[in-house]
Subunit: 248 residues, 2 copies
């Protein structure tokens, strides 16, 4: 990717992980509703992702978009996810297509499938011996309205791919924490995504060839119940971390 890359939600935690490792690797355009509070490795755009005109300008001349912006709270109310996550994601896809952008990597979430974690399946589901796997071909089962909004974003991506040829990858991000996996939290250990694996995964989203994909974004945890095979096969994702290596 030689063209600039637009990163939305640039002040968020996923962006922090990406920029920590890839800050010097790309020509970044960093969009967030708030101005950055730290030094950032690129041009900044202060705008809300639902501001159609601002997003239109921000995608001008970029080769790819990593779309992270949105209300990140699992407990976010409907009105917020409807606007910030569903409408905001449509704004980004539409602007990307209109500007001739080649690809969009969309930050989806484990919450799009949170309701697979039924009382019958848990806590076994979170343990290494359990062989239940979600692989991205299953219909979403959101655990909250935030998860509904992320599933809707994935479907928007499917539409913009099919109708307009945009390459779209939806990354169902697990539990991203810096340094080590969550402690005393089996679920978080099962879906841990280390900072460096996160950056590497989004680098692959910028470099690999694909049409439309839904992949899980977790490290290579022993405990996993999300398959990372599709991310390995299509994107060349090769994670280095495993929450079991940080056993308490």
């Amino acid at each position: 990717m030689d063209d600039p890359v637009l990163l939305t939600g640039a002040s968020g935690r996923v962006a922090e992980a990406i920029l920590a490792d890839l800050g010097d690797e790309y020509d970044w355009r960093l969009l967030d509703r708030y101005p950055p509070e730290v030094d950032v490795p690129g041009e900044t755009v202060v705008a809300d992702v639902t501001d159609r005109e601002a997003v239109r300008e921000a995608v001008e001349g970029v080769g790819a978009v990593i779309h992270l912006a949105g209300d990140p709270r699992p407990e976010a109310p409907w009105e917020s996810v409807l606007t910030n996550n569903i409408d905001g994601t449509q704004v980004v896809f539409e602007a990307a297509v209109d500007a001739g952008v080649e690809r969009v990597a969309f930050a989806s979430s484990n919450h799009a499938v949170g309701a697979f974690e039924t009382d019958e399946r848990t806590p076994d589901l979170y343990r290494a011996h359990d062989d239940f796997r979600l692989d991205g071909t299953e219909l979403p089962r959101p655990g909250n309205l935030y998860g509904v909004s992320k599933a809707a974003g994935e479907t928007l991506g499917r539409y913009y791919h099919d109708a307009h040829g945009l390459s779209v990858v939806c990354v169902r991000i697990g539990n991203l924490t810096k340094g080590h996996p969550p402690e005393d939290y089996e679920r978080g250990q099962a879906m841990w995504l280390s900072y460096r694996d996160c950056a590497h995964l989004f680098e692959r989203c910028l470099e690999a060839e694909y049409g439309y994909e839904v992949v899980y974004g977790i490290s290579d945890n022993d405990r996993k119940y999300y398959s990372i095979e599709r991310a390995r096969d299509v994107l060349g994702y090769d994670p280095r971390d495993n929450s079991a290596d940080h056993a308490e």
Copy 2:
């Protein structure tokens, strides 16, 4: 179903088919943004489906909701489907759960999967010899933003079922026409839904036992590429029409 049934979008075409056969079978509460222009077999509520307070009142005391309201145009702009179809459907599900309603039948659409009709597959897909079938377990591939909004409504239904125990059936309605199938339109003949099969299908949605289902709403057409097996098995759907019986 002895309790009243709330029908939203009561002045639309699907409602017309339902009420033609089932007008006397249920105690109807008929909600539409416009007052009825004809005699109707029930109490009427004039309100927009996005009006949270009005919908809250409308669901009070009903046993089931048939939710048809929304912008029905395949070419509807994003702003309209975001509000009328996505937000409107959340309003209905949320109000239904809060009022202790037992079940909601949601009018989804063939447009939620329209992009399966690729250049490679069509027109063979529309012909009786072709054995390609969609069965409702596939991830949506909307052909337009209207279809995106219907897929989002299905995912909302999944959430309200999983989180709140609401029985939800999403009916991907085909091409509903009165009297006979569309002429000179293979696609429409493949997904034809006759008026009486439509009424019968929604009657089954009110009477059968289910948790969460996605079914296709078409007659038993020779040309079909949507499976009706799930509707038969779970709902007891037993269609009487077939577009082939109306061969031109």
